[in-house]
Structures are given as structure tokens and as C-alpha cells.
């Protein structure tokens, strides 16, 4: 069984390489690529769930397969598979590159999830972010450049932070850092690099107030590109934050206050911004930022139950945030593009509605269960002020999601002239309809099957060395 553990990574990388090569093949031969890519990811997910329970290390201890890696990898593969399935490929400038990039971004998160040292964390994060840059550049080179510059700043902050933590603790290995931290005291030389590191991750995740660079890019990118930026890159940054938080757990003062502030700003700012904006994709991005704030709040509790709840929420977040822009397809032009979608594309409309509601934390969907679990962890840790701010953000997010649902289900479809102006209806295919139905089933079923999922998330938190 041990030999199969890296099969998902191998399948994902091989698929990405083949898809890049397929970009040069004639158009007709690319027709089946989305279905093949979806099946490939589904097989990788099945292998991950089947063989991923084996605990082992690889490549001289650089990668580890534990429950945390299993949970994160399974969530990312599920999100990537659903995003590929629901994407309207006729709207993508370079479909083969798009599929390859989402696979590479997923691979980046998988590396982060398995990494045991700073090098693996940084490499995985950069790989996921680079995939987003490539896909953003395909449609608009200027936005790609902007993302590259902003990403460079984030990367520099992360690198400086990691380097200083290495200098302070004397090791880049996460378990060694944790051992050293257990016998160290909170000092300014440690707090400053952690501050820089988490700041870099916040920029990567596009959290308010750091959304200035990523959000416009997300709005201008293709639907799949936006999904990578809003979902997978944020998931990579959060996974790094999980590992760093777990390594520095003996010194919570070094990271917890900062995470609390970031979480509070993200939860309230995300909800308020989602309420203020009318653009569906911007609203989705802000709702996602608000939910990232909930994940950060769970991390800030620096207890196993909090990290387990955050991991549980991360699974719900990554599926909704990655597949959300893809299922919305060309709705980035304005709210009118979603008008009447419930009538014209019922399965896709249901997918969009559930994505928005889940990101807003509306019961009884995936996001609600995750946010409730984090809320209970916050209550147990006594962070009631953060819980109150989170609830404020959730109420605003709920109102924002209701606005989008109104457009989908209660407004009449726009006339043909407006459609021609950019609000093109997604092309109906069996794969995209099936993908939308599967997306609905996952978001609605996450809570029904919450018991095994949260148990796995809890084991994931335990695998990070938390008791």
C-alpha cells in the first residue's frame, strides 16, 4: 500500500504535463480533454482515499503522508475535479493550459500538505501561485504581471519570515522547530519574522486589507483562473499557516494575536465588502475572504479542537471557492448575467446558489457546519469578541448571498442585446451539468456526512502533533 501513496501526485503531474502537450494538438483531439482530466482527478482522489491512510515518509523525510495530508489532499483533489467538470470550456482562452494549471495548483497544495520542512512549504505555495499567474496571463497579460509583482512581494515576505525563523530556531524542519519552540520563550526576534511570514500568507490568500492586488486579477481572469486564485492559492496559503502554527504552537503569543486580528478584519471586512459590491465574482471573492477569516480564527485558538475545526472548514471552503467562479462561468460582467439563471440553467444555478450560501455560512450547508465548529472552538478558548465579530460578518455575508440568489431565481433573464454585451450563457454539456449536480451534492452532503469528515479533520490536527 505504501507504494501507492504518491500515485495521486504522479497522476496529477502526469496529467498536467500531458495537457500542456495537448495544447499543441489539433482542436478536435482536445474535445475529450475535460472529461479525461475529470476522470484522472477522480481516480487520483479515489487512490488518495484508498491508500492515503498509510502513514509513511518519502524522499528522505521531505514529504510525509499523515491524516492531515490525507484530508488536505482529498479536499483539493475534490475541488479541482469539480472545478474542471463545471467549467464552461468554451469560455476559456486556452482550455488545455487551464486544465494543466489547475492540476499544477492542486499539486502545489498537495506538496504543502505533505511538506515536513520550510522548503517544501515554500515550493508548494509558489507552485500553486505560479499556476494562478500563468492562467491569469493567458487572458490578460497586464493582470498576470500585476499578480506576479504582488506575488513577488508576498513571496519575499514569506521567505524572509521563514529565513528568520530558521535563523532563530536553527532548523528548517518543522518537527525540530516545534521541539526548539517548546523550550524557547516568546521573543521579539521570533515574533517579527512570524509576523512577516503570516503577512505574506495573508497577501497570498487575498485577505482584507491585502486584497488590493489579487482581487482585480481575480475579477479579470478566466473563471478557472479566478477559481485557482480565490480557492486553491488561498488553500495553499492556509495549509502553510496550519503547518507553521502547529510548529510554533508552544509559543502561541508569536502568532495567535496576529491571526486573531487578521481573522477579525477578514470576517467583518469580507462580509461588509460582499454586501457592498454588486459584481457576483467580486462578491464570491469577498465571501471567500470572510470564510478564510473563520479558518484563521480557528487557527488562532491554538488548540487541537480549533485547528481540527479549521481544517474541517478548509475542506468546505476550498470546494466552494475553487468551483464557484467556474460554475458561474461568464457572470463576471455583472449581476445581470446571473439573472434568470435558475430558469435557463437550473443545475448550474443551483450550484452557484449553494456555493454562495455555503461561503456565507448559511445553514444547513457545508460552510455553516465548518463555521459552527470553529465558533465552538472560539467559545471554548474564550475568544468571544472574535466570535461576535465573526457572527457580524456572517450576518452581512448572509444578506449578500441573498442578493445574488435573488438575481438567479427571481429576476428575469436579460434581453439578447445585453447577452451579446458579454453576459453569455454557459454552454450546456453533460459533463458540466453532472459537475454542477455533484457540486450541489458535495456542498449539501458535507453536513450530512459531517461525522466522518470532522473525525478525519480532527485526526489531521492530531497528526500535526497537537493533543
Amino acid at each position: 500500500m505504501r507504494n501507492y501513496v504518491l500515485v495521486p501526485e504522479a497522476l496529477v503531474v502526469a496529467g498536467a504535463v500531458l495537457l500542456v502537450l495537448l495544447g499543441r494538438a489539433p482542436r478536435r483531439s482536445r474535445r475529450w480533454a475535460p472529461l479525461v482530466a475529470t476522470v484522472l482527478v477522480a481516480v487520483a482522489l479515489a487512490v488518495e482515499l484508498w491508500a492515503g491512510a498509510t502513514l509513511s515518509t518519502y524522499l528522505g523525510g521531505a514529504l510525509v503522508q499523515d491524516r492531515f495530508a490525507l484530508f488536505a489532499k482529498a479536499a483539493v483533489l475534490l475541488a479541482a475535479g469539480l472545478a474542471i467538470a463545471v467549467t464552461d470550456w468554451s469560455d476559456e482562452s486556452a482550455p488545455a493550459i487551464g486544465m494543466a494549471m489547475i492540476l499544477l495548483a492542486a499539486f502545489g497544495v498537495m506538496i504543502v500538505a505533505s511538506a515536513t520542512d520550510f522548503v517544501g512549504l515554500w515550493a508548494g505555495l509558489e507552485l500553486a501561485a505560479a499556476a494562478g499567474v500563468v492562467l491569469a496571463s493567458v487572458r490578460r497579460a497586464d493582470l498576470g504581471l500585476r499578480l506576479l509583482v504582488a506575488g513577488g512581494v508576498a513571496s519575499a515576505l514569506v521567505l524572509i519570515g521563514l529565513a528568520f525563523v530558521y535563523a532563530t530556531t536553527g532548523s528548517a524542519d518543522l518537527s525540530t522547530v516545534r521541539r526548539v519552540a517548546a523550550s524557547a520563550t516568546d521573543t521579539l526576534p521570533l515574533a517579527i519574522p512570524v509576523f512577516l511570514l503570516l503577512g505574506g500568507l495573508a497577501v497570498r490568500a487575498g485577505l482584507p486589507p491585502f486584497q488590493f492586488a489579487r482581487l482585480p486579477v481575480g475579477l479579470g481572469a478566466s473563471p478557472l483562473g479566478a477559481g485557482i486564485l480565490i480557492g486553491l492559492v488561498a488553500a495553499a496559503a492556509l495549509t502553510v499557516a496550519f503547518k507553521i502554527s502547529a510548529a510554533l504552537l508552544p509559543l502561541p503569543a508569536a502568532f495567535s494575536p496576529y491571526l486573531m486580528v487578521v481573522a477579525a478584519v477578514a470576517m467583518v471586512g469580507g462580509g461588509a465588502a460582499a454586501l457592498a459590491t454588486r459584481s457576483p465574482r467580486a462578491r464570491l471573492a469577498y465571501l471567500a475572504a470572510g470564510q478564510v477569516g473563520w479558518v484563521a480564527a480557528g487557527l488562532a485558538t491554538h488548540y487541537r479542537i480549533g485547528l481540527g475545526a479549521s481544517l474541517f472548514l478548509l475542506g468546505a471552503f476550498v470546494v466552494a471557492a475553487t468551483a464557484g467562479p467556474a460554475v458561474m462561468a461568464g457572470a463576471d460582467v455583472g449581476e445581470f448575467a446571473l439573472a434568470g439563471m435558475g430558469l435557463l440553467r437550473p443545475a448550474r444555478a443551483a450550484g452557484i446558489a449553494l456555493v454562495f450560501l455555503s461561503l456565507a455560512g448559511v445553514p444547513p450547508l457545508a460552510g455553516f457546519f465548518g463555521e459552527f465548529a470553529v465558533a465552538s472552538a472560539l467559545a471554548q478558548s474564550g475568544a468571544f469578541w472574535l466570535l461576535a465579530l465573526g457572527l457580524l460578518g456572517a450576518v452581512m455575508s448572509m444578506a449578500a448571498a441573498a442578493g445574488t440568489l435573488r438575481a438567479i431565481y427571481l429576476q428575469s433573464p436579460p434581453d439578447e442585446n445585453r447577452r451579446a454585451a458579454g453576459a453569455r450563457l454557459p454552454v450546456l454539456t453533460r459533463l458540466s451539468t453532472g459537475g454542477a449536480v455533484a457540486l450541489c451534492a458535495v456542498i449539501a452532503g458535507y453536513g450530512v456526512f459531517a461525522n466522518p469528515i470532522i473525525s478525519l479533520a480532527d485526526q489531521g490536527a492530531e497528526a500535526l502533533g497537537l493533543r
Partner: protein, 533 residues
């Protein structure tokens, strides 16, 4: 004494004929998940250009009828002599945080379920005139009903929060899609206030959870944990905010006027009839029954809120120039009376409050529905135009008068025993509050008298648009609400075979609601002087 006997006797009437024929361990789950499943199924039925709109309405109606049948079985099987929860279902859901899928009803819960069933049927009948996006409308209506049933049956705070919050989005969408001219403002007010209430409920839940060791959300554990007085007070205050937004109570009533005035009729009926009663039910379940110390401490505050609400609602209704707005404010009165019964904290007043949840829901739904129908039939909402309609609207006149009498709690109406129990039970513990409530009721009576006189029996206004009386469909839903009020008013203990104590088919709502009340009221039973001597 008779009333006290009714409230405290824990009666054990003879079994109703037919009891025990059919039981299901999933009876509560069925009442929650059948509407959800039907709503999903309705969405899957192709409906090109609204060809099957009538079918959609019929499906929604028969689903509600099915739920009422399920609830009739539950009502019939309910053991009135058992104090604890019945029809319990318990499954682990999120064991790592201690959340379970735990449902169960006691007497008050069963009473609320019956109310929800009646309101469900009335809401579908009241919505029969919907012509746009019929499928979506009835799907959302079924989802609201499922969420209300879930919130009533929940015996785990996690499940309660889930269903409590799940009401908001379908209600908001129904407002946005089918509401009146001011639907936008009404919707955001509803989302804002109810969202605040949900947040407050979550804060209360989390505070109690953290203080009780963070092991379980089950009400048996969470609400019975030994909490410090400070925590009890914090939890109680948050629960009051949650309840006040839902009922509503002054000053968190901002949504009521707009929603009751501009929501589609069926939605107004559901909100006024059952969804808003959840506020009082929450206070009963989570404060009065579980935190006696906090309840005693906060009771004067709750009583003040109730008294101010009644006075404010009556005065605003008196000054209103819009019929629906006046009715919306008058619909706040029954909820305030219920809450006052809970605040009085005597076994009699608590029993009255439980009955008042049922009667208040029916009365509020009836006054809102009557005002809505009347203004629809008269083609205007303006009280400056509506005048002397009784000769031309005999059916609506009767229903309006019944609604007014039900709000005031006159004999023969179900609200009479409820209000009598509340006032009799509260004079010892909250004498000032009881006088204030009585004064508020006098003001309400004045407002209603002015309204009825002006609209129905005043000088006919020949400049007003043409009017017509209620149609057969409208008579059905209004008659159902009025009939339920009269039925319980005439037979609170159930109809009996002449000369015997043998119930015919209805065990009587008083008997049903009394199950479990002795447990809830036990901390508030005054010490017996004879026993202490």
C-alpha cells in the same frame, strides 16, 4: 382554582379511540424532511412556461395535508401523563464538538407542532393566488415550514441554531420575489433583525457550551449544566435578544411593519403564525425551563419589554393610516402577552404562556391575513378610504371581528383561557406588570374598536374603489384560522362523550400542553405554608 387545576393537574385522560394504531420512530423527522424532499422533488419536475403550476400548488397543499396527518398521529399517540420528551430521535452528528441530531417534543413542543401544521395549510391556501414563478414560491414555503418544524422539535442547541437560521433565506427570497412595493426595505430589515437574533442565539449557545465544559450541545446537558450566575445572566440576555427579534418585542420590532405589510399573504401567515412564535418557545425552552436563576433575575426586564410592546403596538395601530400597518402592529400583541406569561414565572402563568403561543400564533396570523385580504378586496390599504364595508363584506366582517375578539381574549376564543391564566398567574409575582399589560390590552381594545368601527361599521365612503367579499378560497384559510381558535376555545380539554370522561377523538390541547409543564414550572412553585409549619 379551576385554572390552577387545569395547569397543574398532569391529567391522565382515557386513551383516545384509535391511539396506538400507527407509530413511527421517525415521526418528527418526517415532519421536517418530507417538506424538504418534496421541495427538491418539485424542482426536478419540468414545468415549461408554468404549465404545471396548478400541480405545484396541489403538491404543496397535499404535502401540508400529509404533514398534518403525521402530526395528527403524533398528537393522537402523545402520552399526556409523561413529563419528559416524547418521539425522541437521537443520532450522533458531530461527536468531536458534541453535536447530536436530537429531536423530541414535550407538551409545549407538541402544541407548537400542531400550530405549525395548521398554519402550514392556511399558508398554502392563502398563497393559491400566486401566479408568478409558482414552483419556486411553494418550494421556498415548504422549506420555511420544514425549518420551523425543525426548530420546534430540536433538542440539541446545534440543531436548533441550524433550523432557526435556516428560516431566514427562504423567507427573504419570498419577500424579494413576491413582496409588495417596499419589499427591498422589508427584506433587508428582516434579514438584519433575524440575522442579529440568530447571532445572539449562537452567542448564547456558545457561552453556555464553553461554560459547561464544551462537551455537548444536547439540551439535556447544555441547559442543565451548573453555570455561574454571571454566565447564566449573559446567556439569558442573549436569548432575550434572539427571542425579541423573532417575536418581535420592542425595540427590536423594526421588521414587523414592513414584512407584515409587504410580504405575500402566505408568507405573512407563516411568519406571524408560527415562525415568530419560535421566539417565545425559545425563551420557554432555554431560559424559563433551564436557567431559573437567570429567569428570575431577568423576569422584570422581560415584563417591561412585554408591557412596552403592547402599549407601543396599540398606540401605533391607533394612529396608523394604513390597514396592514395597523394589523402588523396589532399582531405584535399576542407575542408580548405570551412573553409576559413567561416572565411572571408562576406555574399558572407559564401554562397560560404555552397555550398563548398557540392561540397567539393563530390570532396574529388571522389579523394579518384578514387585513391583507380585506385591503386586497377593497383595492386600497388606506384607512382614510376604507369605511362602512360591513354590508358589502359580510364574511370578512365576521372574520375581522373574530380576529379582534381573539386578540383581546374574550370568552369562547382560545385566547381567553390563555390570557386569563397569564393574568391570574402574574398578579402575585408581577403586579405592576400585570396592570400594565391589562392597561395595554385596554389600549389594544380601543385601537381595535376604532379600527373595526371605522373600516366596517362607519359611514360608507362612496369615493372608495369598488369592493367585494372574500372568495371561497379566502374563506377557507380565514375560516381555518378562526375555526381553530373557536375549537380550542370551546373544547380546551377536548370534546367528550356526553355524560362520560371519554374523549371523542381529540385529547384536548390543554391536556396535551400540560405534559412536561410540571417539570418546567417546578422551580417556580411557591413554597406551601402548610407544609413548612
Amino acid at each position: 382554582m379551576i385554572l390552577a387545576g387545569i395547569a397543574l393537574a398532569s391529567p391522565t385522560p382515557a386513551a383516545v379511540p384509535g391511539a396506538g394504531i400507527f407509530t413511527s420512530p421517525l415521526i418528527l423527522s418526517l415532519s421536517i424532511w418530507v417538506p424538504v424532499a418534496v421541495a427538491i422533488g418539485m424542482n426536478l419536475i419540468p414545468n415549461p412556461r408554468g404549465r404545471y403550476d396548478t400541480l405545484m400548488k396541489q403538491i404543496a397543499f397535499f404535502t401540508n395535508l400529509g404533514i398534518v396527518f403525521i402530526l395528527f398521529i403524533a398528537y393522537n399517540q402523545f402520552q399526556t401523563f409523561l413529563p419528559g420528551m416524547q418521539f425522541e430521535e437521537k443520532l450522533p452528528w458531530l461527536p468531536s464538538i458534541g453535536a447530536t441530531y436530537h429531536l423530541g417534543v414535550d407538551g409545549p413542543g407538541m402544541t407548537m407542532m400542531v400550530l405549525s401544521g395548521i398554519i402550514g395549510i392556511a399558508a398554502v391556501l392563502a398563497s393559491w393566488g400566486v401566479r408568478e414563478r409558482v414552483r419556486s414560491y411553494f418550494c421556498l414555503l415548504l422549506l420555511i415550514q420544514a425549518a420551523v418544524n425543525g426548530a420546534i422539535a430540536a433538542h440539541d442547541m446545534f440543531v436548533l441554531v441550524l433550523f432557526w437560521g435556516a428560516v431566514i433565506i427562504p423567507a427573504a427570497l419570498l419577500m424579494l420575489g413576491w413582496g409588495g412595493p417596499r419589499r427591498e426595505a422589508a427584506t433587508w430589515r428582516l434579514v438584519g433583525y433575524w440575522g442579529l437574533g440568530t447571532a445572539a442565539l449562537l452567542v448564547a449557545t456558545m457561552t453556555a457550551y464553553a461554560a459547561s465544559g464544551g462537551s455537548s450541545f444536547d439540551m439535556d446537558v447544555l441547559l442543565k449544566a451548573t453555570l455561574t450566575p454571571r454566565v447564566q445572566l449573559a446567556v439569558g440576555a442573549a436569548l432575550i435578544v434572539a427571542a425579541a427579534t423573532r417575536l418581535p418585542l420592542f425595540p427590536l420590532h423594526g421588521w414587523a411593519r414592513d414584512v407584515y405589510s409587504d410580504a405575500p399573504l402566505g408568507v405573512s401567515v407563516v411568519i406571524a403564525g408560527s415562525a415568530s412564535r419560535l421566539g417565545a418557545f425559545l425563551l420557554l425552552r432555554a431560559l424559563v425551563a433551564s436557567n431559573p436563576d437567570a429567569a428570575r433575575l431577568l423576569a422584570p426586564f422581560i415584563a417591561v419589554l412585554a408591557a412596552v410592546t403592547i402599549g407601543y403596538a396599540a398606540l401605533v395601530a391607533l394612529r396608523s393610516v394604513d390597514l396592514r400597518s395597523a394589523a402588523a402592529h396589532l399582531a405584535m400583541v399576542p407575542g408580548a402577552i405570551t412573553v409576559f406569561g413567561l416572565a411572571a414565572l408562576t406555574p399558572l402563568s407559564i401554562a397560560g404562556a404555552v397555550l398563548s403561543m398557540f392561540t397567539g400564533g393563530l390570532a396574529a396570523a388571522l389579523i394579518v391575513a384578514t387585513a391583507w385580504t380585506l385591503s386586497d378586496r377593497a383595492q386600497t390599504r388606506s384607512l382614510q378610504l376604507l369605511s362602512g364595508l360591513a354590508p358589502r363584506m359580510p364574511i370578512l366582517t365576521w372574520v375581522f371581528v373574530i380576529a379582534a375578539l381573539a386578540l383581546l381574549g374574550v370568552p369562547l376564543m382560545a385566547s381567553f383561557p390563555a390570557e386569563t391564566m397569564i393574568l391570574f398567574g402574574s398578579f402575585k409575582t408581577q403586579p405592576v406588570g400585570a396592570f400594565a399589560i391589562a392597561a395595554g390590552l385596554v389600549l389594544t381594545a380601543v385601537a381595535l374598536a376604532v379600527l373595526v368601527h371605522r373600516v366596517l361599521f362607519g359611514e360608507p365612503n362612496h369615493d372608495a374603489p369598488a369592493v367585494s367579499d372574500a372568495s371561497l378560497r379566502e374563506t377557507w384559510y380565514l375560516g381555518l384560522l378562526a375555526g381553530a381558535l373557536l375549537w380550542v376555545g370551546l373544547f380546551p380539554g377536548g370534546p367528550k362523550l356526553p355524560g362520560t370522561e371519554q374523549p371523542i377523538f381529540d385529547a384536548g390541547l390543554i391536556n396535551i400542553m400540560s405534559a412536561g409543564l410540571s417539570d418546567i414550572a417546578s422551580p417556580y412553585v411557591p413554597p406551601n405554608p402548610a407544609a413548612t409549619q
